[in-house]
């Protein structure tokens, strides 16, 4: 076969980018059948890339000092050469927006197009979490609405008031998502229209909740005193605050809601990091190799591509100074490649472990995996002994009751299942974030809010708890109590405003009465 490369130099032009995009799209769509949103490829400068970084991947965000902090941080590290910028940022929207940096060479641009515009893009469109939790068509409009609304609030109520509120909301952002209930998408225009009604309606509802005039003293009070409010513990703290906090103004509720919505939009991304990157990496690898096989790119192109591909999927060992956790690109790419291998060339071991997929159609199997899983379940389902061996995975248990660390399992026959389970659990956001839920509101008394933290594996809360309670207190407006539970026993408690002394002192103790000798 004679090679007729699309380009030979490293300089890119818009014409070449279009040409590569056409070729990659042809392979992705026609040969591999990837389903994608239309692409909007935007070429930007390094400075603009830093801007995009600072707004944590939102194409347009409301103003907040923390984004300025991100920006200063990125700027400093980049200018000193301590870090390179990502080659691309891709946004889950319809059309799917991908940013390409102008510094990239032609090879890198092609790599990025394959990775972002066909890899990530098809993942956004296919994966069930994104399909059910985010609405790619309306996110940009919603962000526009959010930005306008928040700057209106700043004009009306002052920058400081809005900033304080946002600080508190951001602190609780991880607790602003519904994990199980599916929201239905609302277009941004509708959002704007509804916002006014909502303000009034919400306030009325809140007023009802806090009504102190008894409606029907005989019938109601008795019933209400007995029942706890909320009847079930609530995991979405921001939602609970938005709907129930007694003192928030309508505009404040709307701001809480905006932060909650943004958190919800990012929630699937946090749950599918390994899969998403693995999928995108797998496809840039596969698509560009296909281009090479067709003779559309040169050997030099492939050398450059492979060089950056290998550095992206490099996993430093645990004792390296570069180690900072498991590289999601490595793990994801290894697993995707492994699934294809098991389908095409299954070994005896694969047939034993994965009878369903060994020898099946790899493209269908892989797409099914992409559509139906998130990191936790994906690893639990597909992590094969071969990948565990290749990455030499091992599990360490650190128990406070033990003065030594213990190796729980390694990459051997007896350890595969255990390593797999533990690694999957590591990607369960529910395990990584303390499980804190709204337990009770004292409606008839001091209006205090009681939260319960259910300890996972005996892990206590970190040092930030007191500051977090301050944020909660700011939003709720009345006392906050946080009980840290192990099963049904209270292990620790925290209060805001802090209680004078320990709770033990409120109970008279005999030994305290004995004067010290």
């Amino acid at each position: 076969m004679t090679r007729q490369p699309i380009s030979s130099g490293s300089e890119w032009t818009f014409e070449l980018i279009r040409e590569y995009d056409r070729e990659i799209a042809r392979i992705a769509h026609d040969i591999y059948g990837l389903d994608t949103y239309p692409n909007q490829i935007e070429v930007i400068t390094a400075e603009q890339m830093m801007d995009a970084y600072a707004s944590v991947g939102m194409p347009l965000g409301y103003h907040h000092w923390s984004y300025g902090k991100h920006f200063l941080h990125t700027e400093k590290h980049y200018k000193r050469g301590q870090m390179g910028l990502a080659y691309e940022i891709v946004i889950n929207s319809d059309p799917c927006i991908a940013y390409l940096m102008e510094e990239n060479t032609m090879t890198m641009q092609a790599l990025v197009i394959a990775h972002a515009c066909y890899g990530h893009n098809s993942f956004f469109k296919g994966n069930y979490l994104f399909r059910s939790w985010t609405d790619a068509g309306s996110i940009i409009d919603y962000l526009v609405f959010a930005k306008q609304y928040i700057s209106q609030c700043e004009e009306r109520y002052g920058i400081d008031a809005v900033e304080d509120l946002l600080d508190s909301c951001h602190a609780l952002m991880n607790y602003g998502v519904d994990r199980y209930k599916r929201p239905y998408p609302v277009s941004a225009e509708e959002e704007r229209r509804r916002q006014q009604e909502r303000e009034e309606y919400l306030q009325r509802q809140v007023n009802d909740l806090w009504r102190t005039i008894p409606i029907n003293p005989d019938a109601h009070n008795k019933h209400q005193e007995e029942s706890r409010y909320p009847a079930e513990p609530q995991e979405n703290l921001l939602y609970f605050i938005e709907k129930n906090a007694p003192l928030l103004e309508p505009w404040q509720r709307e701001v809480v809601r905006i932060v909650r919505k943004v958190a919800q939009y990012f929630y699937p991304q946090r749950q599918t990091q390994v899969m998403n990157e693995g999928w995108a990496t797998f496809w840039h690898y596969t698509l560009l190799n296909h281009l090479y096989d067709e003779g559309k790119v040169s050997d030099g192109f492939m050398m450059e591509f492979l060089q950056s591909h290998t550095s992206v999927i490099y996993q430093p060992p645990f004792d390296s100074e570069w180690f900072s956790g498991i590289n999601p690109y490595t793990l994801g790419f290894a697993m995707m490649q492994d699934i294809r291998r098991m389908c095409e060339n299954p070994t005896e071991e694969d047939r034993r472990w994965f009878p369903d997929i060994a020898g099946s159609d790899w493209l269908e199997t892989l797409k099914f995996a992409m559509r139906t899983f998130k990191d936790e379940s994906f690893i639990l389902q597909y992590l094969s002994p071969k990948v565990i061996r290749d990455l030499k995975l091992f599990a360490i248990v650190d128990d406070e009751k033990d003065d030594h660390l213990q190796v729980a399992a390694i990459h051997d026959d007896s350890g595969y299942r255990k390593v797999r389970e533990l690694l999957a659990a590591q990607y369960n956001l529910g395990n990584n974030e303390p499980n804190i839920q709204v337990w009770e509101v004292d409606r008839r008394g001091d209006r205090s809010l009681t939260l319960r933290h259910q300890r996972h594996e005996g892990k206590p809360l970190g040092k930030t708890t007191e500051r977090m309670l301050k944020h909660l207190h700011r939003l709720w407006g009345f006392d906050i109590h946080l009980l840290s539970m192990e099963g049904d026993t209270i292990k620790a408690e925290a209060h805001m405003p802090p209680r004078p002394g320990n709770s033990e002192e409120s109970i008279p103790r005999f030994d305290m009465n004995i004067p010290p000798i």
């Binding site: 000092w65 200063l72 892990k459």
Partner: protein, 424 residues
């Protein structure tokens, strides 16, 4: 289907607002850091920004996270020698070894400082914040004889070269609608009626004639409304604004007699540079005149001013006289804001000090915007200081004196001299 868009020409400073928000929030921290930096580094290298560091714990955004303790399990890559059941001593200080270390980095356990760079512009902003040039406004208004033409909206009068076409056409259009709108509506109606009539009753000639006549009259009426009337014309209005003199001259007076050591001169130099930078922020153009003196005064260039050596006694009035001469020759107080900074170790002929006082009070001070005198000496005040105190009594707004003992005092003294005062 893909679209490729070149966004490189779009604004790149999308983060500017967020960055300003950040600076605003940590103003107190940054200001403190700037003040420390001013004290630390030589004033001469003030021409660049500054690295600011803020303690990490003041700046992190808290989230709920697990603390150390309990039972934590983590999976690591790259096993070499471990086998199941191995027991490893717990590594000190975390590192990669267990203990939920992966979360600590971004949740505020890290005590590392947050370090970032501010630009020179921002640095100076923070440095000169709360400082103001005294009497700036007074001189701005007085003695302006230059003007600047600026746009000031739209007028109905003007000369033809200033016609604002869009506005003129717009008001012509509005006038035409206002004057002929009714007729036009009637005309459209009549035309429709005529059409209808011709189809339905082609032989009803009377009505048709009436209608045709009416249409003719309506058309004539509409045509009488002129397309453009002088009434419609709009002109861009330009007005002359007095252009306040934004030129300043700064006189640097220094004693170079034998008692001034190089260290004292260095301190004086830093003070002058600070003053120069400060004036630069307020005026478009600044002249600097260096006058040095011992028993006689001389106008010199910067190099000679700071570094050449002289010996001899001290007669301050010689410098004041020379300054008066230069002002008369080159810097008319009507056009220039005149500032003077005098540095000395306080020595003067005893007989000369009263002369200085008289010179200042009678001749110089009325023309001065601000006169500051710094005495660089750890010793007791001398006669000149006490004479100057009387000058300060006469001109409390535009005369100030301070004592500097060592380099660390320069910036605080400078701040004291130019502290924003309550409007009187």
């Amino acid at each position: 289907m893909s679209y490729v868009i070149d966004r490189r020409l779009n604004g790149k400073n999308k983060s500017t607002v967020n960055r300003q928000r950040f600076l605003r929030r940590y103003k107190a921290h940054i200001k403190k850091a700037v003040e420390e930096a001013v004290g630390r580094r030589s004033i001469t290298d003030i021409e660049h920004g500054e690295q600011i560091s803020i303690p990490g714990r003041d700046i992190d955004e808290p989230i709920f996270h697990h603390g150390p303790g309990g039972r934590q399990t983590r999976v690591f890559p790259g096993n070499r020698e471990f086998a199941t059941g191995d027991r490893i001593p717990r590594p000190e200080g975390g590192g990669g070894g267990g203990g939920g270390g992966s979360q600590a980095g971004n949740t505020g356990e890290g005590e590392d400082d947050f370090v970032f760079q501010i630009t020179q512009e921002e640095f100076l902003d923070f440095m000169f914040e709360d400082l103001a040039l005294p009497n700036l406004i007074k001189r701005h208004l007085a003695g302006t004889d230059t003007f600047r033409t600026v746009r000031a909206g739209i007028s109905q009068q003007g000369n033809p070269s200033r016609i604002n076409i869009v506005r003129s056409m717009r008001s012509a259009h509005a006038r035409r609608i206002a004057l002929s709108g009714g007729s036009r509506a009637r005309l459209r109606e009549a035309l429709r009626e005529l059409e209808l009539l011709r189809q339905q009753q082609p032989d009803n000639l009377i009505d048709i004639n009436d209608l045709e006549l009416e249409i003719q009259q309506l058309r004539a009426r509409i045509d009488r409304v002129p397309f453009l009337d002088t009434f419609d014309l709009r002109y861009n209005l330009l007005v002359k604004q007095p252009d306040p003199s934004s030129r300043a001259v700064m006189f640097c007076l220094m004693d170079v007699s034998g008692s001034m050591t190089q260290a004292t001169k260095d301190i004086a130099k830093r003070f002058y540079i600070l003053l120069y930078l400060f004036l630069q922020r307020n005026y478009e153009r600044i002249d600097v005149v260096f006058i040095r003196h011992h028993t006689s005064a001389k106008e010199v260039d910067e190099e000679e001013f700071f570094y050449s050596r002289e010996t001899g006694g001290t007669i301050v009035s010689s410098a004041l006289r020379l300054m008066q001469q230069i002002i008369a020759d080159r810097y008319s107080p009507n056009e220039w804001n005149i500032y003077c900074a005098q540095a000395s170790d306080g020595d003067n002929w005893n007989d000369d000090s009263p002369i200085c006082r008289e010179l200042l009070i009678r001749q110089l001070m009325p023309a001065m915007q601000y006169y500051c005198y710094v005495e660089i000496t750890p010793r007791e005040h001398q006669a000149l200081w006490y004479e100057y105190e009387q000058v300060a009594e006469h001109f409390p707004d535009s005369f100030a004196q301070q004592q500097i003992v060592d380099a660390g005092d320069i910036y605080p003294v400078f701040r004291k001299l130019f502290q924003k005062r309550m409007a009187t």
